[in-house]
Amino acid sequence: MSTGALDPLIHDPERLRIVATLAALPDGDALSVTRLQDLIRLPPGSLISCLRELGRAGYVRTGPAGRGRARTTVTLTPGGRVALARYTAVLQQLPQVARPDRQRPGPGVRAGDADRDAVAAALGEHFAQGRLTLEELHARLDATLAATTQGELSQALRDLPRPRP
């Protein structure tokens, strides 16, 4: 298992919160530093030093914006967005961290013999536990063995409880 390194600049809990908060804005939108501080609830000093470090790496851009009171705003740069995406991708490679259903192939993905066998075995188990009648079992097994996509396979189990992980 070769997991890439987690970008230490983003991995720091405080900076992670800042980057994640900024990433939730539409691309290119800026947030005032005061608003960011409300959202993240960091002492102003830590927030400023985090922003400075992120700024040095080119992940965020701060700039005065608006008229009247000199309000400083913060934006996630395209570089910062890419860095966060890469960071998230590294996290997803860790087993047990990525959400299991994200790893499950989409409904249009072709099913193989092993997939069909697994569903058939699960159906047998549901029959044994009294959730399916014999006719239902036969009908679903026929459909399962004829299934060519993951979507068709999942249809066979649509109303049956999932085994506990």
Binding site: M1, T3, A5, L6, P8, H11, P13, L16, R17, A20, A24, L39, L84, T88, L91, Q92, L94, P95, Q96, V97, A98, R99, R102
Partner: protein, 99 residues
Amino acid sequence: MTTEELDPLIHVPTRLKIVATLAALPDGDDLSFTRLQDMIGLTPGNLIIHLRKLEEADYISSKKTSNGTVSITKVALTSHGRAALGAYTQALRDLLGAL
């Protein structure tokens, strides 16, 4: 938005890797120290230090077995550690949304 704190014990990248690797085993299974070292790619000294920290928090358990000539240390995630990883990943998801 109240984001739960990211457990600092798990958040350290190396320990995150250790915990995630152990969590991938079926519940109750363990892994030998050397195997874990291969999978994570750490020096033994480094790995021992991280394991000790995790063991102090009762996130992992280790037991040493010996068959006379060689002794093997086996490491496993405790149920406490599994719950901590679950809370940690949930906190990450709250933060990043798209995991």
